[in-house]
Structures are given as C-alpha cells and as structure tokens.
Point group: C2
Chain length 165, copies 2
DNA sequence: GCTCAACTATATCCTCAACAACTTTCCTCT
DNA sequence: AGAGGAAAGTTGTTGAGGATATAGTTGAGC
C-alpha cells in the first residue's frame, strides 16, 4: 500500500500538467516583467482590449479571470495609477463601474503583444506538430469544459445589456 | 492591426491551457482544503513520501517545487507545527537540514491520497480516451522539457550523496 | 410608496510567498 | 593553515490576493 501509491499514473499525469504549465507561465511572466506588467495585469488588459468599447464591468473582469472582485479592485487600482486603464461610471446602473482601456493602455498592449506571441510560439505552440497541437487543444478543451465553474454567459449578458447606453 | 491581434490562435491556445489548469487546480485545492492541506503543503508531503527515507533537503524541496528556499522554510515551519513533518540535521553537511515525513504525515497522506486520485481521475484523466490521454501527456512532456529551468539531476545527485550516512 | 433581498464595488484584516540581508558552514586556492 | 568565496537556511520587509464586512444601489413584492 505504500510506495507505488505515490507513483500512481494519475499523480504523474497531474505532475506533468503542473510542470508544463508553471514552467511556461514562468517564461511568460518573466517577459511581461520586462515591460512592467504582471501576469494578471496583462490578463486584464487583453480582456479589455478584446471587449467592445474596450471596457468591462469589474464583476465581469472578476468572472473572466481567476480573481475575486476585491482582487480586481486592486489590479485596476494599479493599472489606473500607471494610466493604462481608467474607471468610468455605468450610466444605467450606478452600482457598476467600468474599467476602460486607455489609449496608453492600448499602445502598451501593441508594444507587448508581438513579443508575447513569439514567446508562446517558441515555448509552446511551435514545439508541436500542427495536428499534435490541435489534438492537445482538443484535450485541454475537454478538461476546461469539465472543470469550468459555471456559466459565464450570464455575466456576458449583463455586460452587453448595460453597454447599450 | 487592432482587433484580430487579440484573438490570435496563440492567445487562445494559451488561454485554453490556463483555463484548464487553473480550473483543475481549483478543484484539487478545494478538496485538499477539506483535509486541512494547501496545495503546496500537499506537494511537499508527496515529494517527501516518494523519497527514500521519506526525507529531502530543504534545497532539494525548493528545486522540486515552485518555491524559493525561504518559501520552503515557511511551509516546513507550518507542517512541523502541525506535526506532519520534522526537521533533522544532515550528519554529513551541517549547513543542510532534512525535512522528514513523520508517521502522522504518512498517515495523513494515506487518508488524503485515495480521494485525491479519484478527483484527478474524475476531472482530468478519466475525461479522455486512453490514447487521447497518452497523446496529451506526450505533448505536455514536450512543453515541460522545453521550458524546464535546468537540470534537476544535480540536486538529485547531491541528495543521494548526502543521504549515505 | 415602502421594505427587504440581491447585487456591486470598496475597505479592512489576514495569509502567504518573493526578495534581500544575514549567519553558519563548507570548499578551494595559495 | 588561512583567506575568500560559495552554499544552505532563516528572518525582516514588502506586496499580492482571498475572506469578510460595509456602504451604496437596484428591483420585486406588498
């Protein structure tokens, strides 16, 4: 009952998953640091950049990232202090406020993204054959859909609904 | 140059990787919490359990996990306080000290592991067909070997060498 | 209209980990 | 043998982020 239990194939699979991911994010995080951005800050910026009007409610940001709303408050605090993001009141619901990507924020993203994409290509996607990569992504999608907390659709609906100002 | 850049396939690939991993670890972390263990504490315990004599030098623990040596100091502090681990001096190198799994620690692991393995099976390995899983692990191995900082063999050699007491 | 529950953002408290400085011990070079 | 440097571990400080409480806002039911 003793030794082989700790070398179960499920343990090794999980360990492999962990090592691959943490190693990769360490590389990514290191490069972002040279641009003065942390991983979560980059995460927030790119989600804003992808959103219509380059803005999202704080709650939606929290739902899309792995942070709580209080965590988002502080990330946006930092980004606002450096001028990459600004807060804007929601006209239809005075409880809500938007985080909006500023011009400086978009410029910063355009500086950072090419290197970021090269990095992912170099350490991740470029290491695999095309069909090998697509199979990997299929498998990851299966796992993600399994473990994903719940519907993000509700939050998305709220966002678009509040956005019709 | 604007919108499609943020939806590059490399971004989505990285996002998929992130979501799958963070979602999975959230599940794992939640279950471990019900046993009074954090993820890094579990990580330390299982690495000790797998090691000969159930012991590792602090430095080797740091190398195997994603923590610095000072981080390991504090984790082992906590585990020692709860009696799952004890420190032991290295007889051949008085700078080094071992973290040793106690009987209570091994018992705790035997309580926790079955559920842990079931969890991994349920949310991860069991979601995929056998050959799909093995291909996933192959791909993860490629990425891990690419991004892995450096040789862990050096640390392993030191450990075994110090262990011949 | 009023009340109450749900929601949104923020403030406060606490845990945890990185970083840097420091102590002790070991090793190498002369 | 002794000096200088490298290595191992601990500790103070800093900062990020979760949990919870709080204040303001909304909407539904009466």
């Amino acid at each position: 009952m003793t030794e082989h239990l700790f070398d179960d194939r499920r343990i090794t699979a999980m360990g492999l998953f962990t090592e691959a991911f943490t190693g990769l994010t360490a590389r990514v995080s290191g490069q972002l640091a040279t641009h003065g951005l942390s991983l979560v800050e980059f995460e927030v910026l790119i989600r804003l950049a992808r959103s219509p009007r380059s803005q999202l409610r704080m709650t939606d940001l929290a739902a899309q990232t792995q942070l709580t709303t209080s965590g988002i408050t502080r990330v946006v605090d930092r980004l606002e202090r450096t001028g990459l993001v600004r807060r804007e009141a929601c006209p239809t619901d005075r409880r809500s406020s938007f985080a909006v990507l500023t011009d400086a924020g978009r410029t910063r993203m355009e500086e950072v993204l090419p290197g970021h994409l090269e990095l992912i290509e170099h350490w991740f996607t470029g290491r695999l054959m095309p069909d090998q990569l697509s199979q990997l992504l299929d498998s990851l999608r299966v796992v993600r859909d399994a473990v994903r907390p719940e519907a993000t659709s509700g939050a998305a609906r709220n966002a678009s609904e509040c956005e019709t100002r």
